[in-house]
């Protein structure tokens, strides 16, 4: 019988680390990754030799990047696996680490997200199933069409959609790990350059480089290694889905997100309304509005209005993308989903400093990968 994560032994996030998400630089991927991993080990108070396995989420680095990096931490012989799942590569690396600890096959596992910008080669372009638009339907054109449809359906303006970016830039202006730390104004966001339909450049996520690391551990490991229980964050659910066939005209990403969020909440035993902090895949501003509604914390067509009155601000009803999200924290591909877990853990520990959402106890991280796949994790603060 299929059993959800909470039927296995408990898994906790015990260490988090980041290298800033930033534009392409001369820094090697090894340096990026080691910075994040060493920070996560120091955060947990754990030595590399105590880590039983490692999963590296990366989509662009090429074959076999991990040992060339991890050997500089003392080659312990641990099993290492690269995980490629498009934009959800990092989230999937976290999921694999969580599952391995939950199953008991590892006591401590490391998930890394790592990438540097490189030409993207999409396998599905060679699938032998061309359509009428092919490359013309790039992600920004795809999401601009969804924005156009949403705006018409609910009478929402381009300015209201752009307010997603305004909020997320405001959050990232307090995040030293963010790619875009300048708190752009609504006027700056709307002034262009235009990319597609209502989407301006600042409503499209920047793809740069960076790294993120998360260490997960069992209760046994926390006791045996003397780790802080108060700073550990419990992983309540780990849910992964891929696209099905939906009704004609329905957006597959939104429908896939809707069912994956619902499944993850059910598996965690939580109600969407109980969530305090959420990190969504806001690759484009419109996505955040679609996914807030898909989560069920806001009726269809009302996300823009609730955003404008501050419901989704830090300190609001539920803080959406307190890190700045993909739009402002950035989207270096592999690191993005791992970085979301870092942000949620930081918020649930009460260690997010100037961007702390007061009283955060329950958090959710969501990524979509082209294709499409969707990965959701729900985490809770220590009792």
């Amino acid at each position: 019988m299929r059993r959800p994560l909470r039927d296995y032994r408990p898994v906790h996030v015990v260490g988090i680390g980041l290298h800033r998400f930033q534009p392409l630089s001369e820094t090697t991927y090894v340096e990026l990754g080691l910075t994040a991993i060493r920070e996560a080990m120091a955060d947990a108070g754990i030595a590399f030799s105590a880590i039983d396995s490692a999963y590296c989420g990366t989509a662009l680095l090429g074959m076999a990047p991990s040992r060339a990096m991890l050997r500089h931490l003392g080659a312990s012989g641990l099993p290492i696996t690269q995980v490629e799942n498009a934009s959800a590569s990092g989230s999937t690396a976290v999921r694999q680490a969580v599952l391995e600890v939950a199953s008991g096959m590892a006591d401590v596992s490391l998930a890394i997200g790592l990438d540097k910008p490189a030409p993207i080669r999409l396998a599905h372009e060679a699938a032998g199933v061309p359509d009428l638009v092919n490359a013309y339907a790039s992600p920004f054109t795809h999401f601009a069409l969804l924005a156009d449809d949403y705006m018409r359906r609910y009478g929402v303006t381009a300015e209201q959609v752009a307010r997603v970016a305004e909020k997320n830039f405001r959050n990232a202006s307090k995040n030293p790990h963010a790619h875009r730390q300048k708190g752009y104004s609504l006027a700056e966001i709307l002034s262009g350059p235009n990319i597609s339909g209502p989407l301006t450049r600042l409503q499209c996520c920047p793809i740069g480089e960076g790294a993120a690391a998360v260490i997960v551990a069992s209760d046994d490991a926390i006791a045996r290694l003397g780790l802080s229980r108060a700073r550990s964050v419990r992983v309540l659910s780990s849910t992964s889905r891929s696209e099905r066939v939906y009704d004609p005209g329905a957006d597959p990403d939104t429908e896939l997100t809707r069912e994956t969020l619902a499944m993850s909440c059910a598996e965690a035993g939580v109600s969407p309304g109980d969530l305090d902090v959420v990190e969504f895949h806001d690759g484009f501003s419109i996505e955040e509005l679609l996914y807030v509604e898909a989560l069920g914390v806001c009726p269809p067509g009302q996300a823009a209005g609730q955003l404008a009155r501050g419901d989704f601000d830090i300190g609001g009803r539920v803080a959406i993308n307190p890190s700045g999200g993909l739009l402002a924290m950035g989207h270096p591909i592999g690191p993005t989903g791992v970085g979301q877990i870092c942000e949620i853990a930081r918020q649930l520990r009460g260690e997010a400093g100037p961007r702390q959402h007061p009283g955060a106890r329950l958090g959710l991280a969501h990524m979509v990968g082209i294709g499409s796949v969707c990965v959701v994790h729900i985490l809770s603060a220590a009792d």
Partner: protein, 130 residues
């Protein structure tokens, strides 16, 4: 693009497929199997779809992220009269003449191809009122 449409009057039809297993009508066609029920390709029969529909949404893209795309171009979501909702490129590259709800139809357009030759590609255009 040649395998995606059937030439005909007054305008080209789209080469859709219907699944003999579950009845799903889909576009574009594929040589592998049904996305809904998993029936093999042998159970996917040709089902021409009239090249007519209405615009659900449309956007003009002004930024090209690859060199083989010239901007601006306009892509629309189109609800075909025969059911499926598809995406297509409009002849009006700036989208200035278009509105949501417009009736549209297929048209073949000559396009410069490699080595001085031309090929014909399928676009949608606004249908003139009869």
């Amino acid at each position: 693009m040649a395998g995606l449409f059937l030439e005909g009057e007054p305008n080209p039809a789209l080469r859709g497929q219907e699944c003999e297993g579950c009845g799903r009508v889909a576009f574009p066609p594929n040589p592998y199997g049904c996305e809904k029920c998993g029936a093999p390709a042998a159970m996917l029969v040709d089902r021409p779809l009239a090249g007519r529909g209405r615009i659900v949404a449309f956007v003009t893209t002004t930024h090209a992220n690859r060199r083989d795309l010239s901007v601006p171009y306009t892509v629309a979501s189109i609800a075909l009269d025969d059911g499926p909702v598809i995406r297509a490129i409009m002849t009006d590259s700036t989208g200035e003449s278009l509105a949501a709800g417009d009736a549209v139809e297929t048209v073949l357009v000559e396009r410069a191809a490699d080595e001085g030759s031309t090929d014909r590609v399928l676009r949608f255009q606004k249908r003139e009122a009869a």
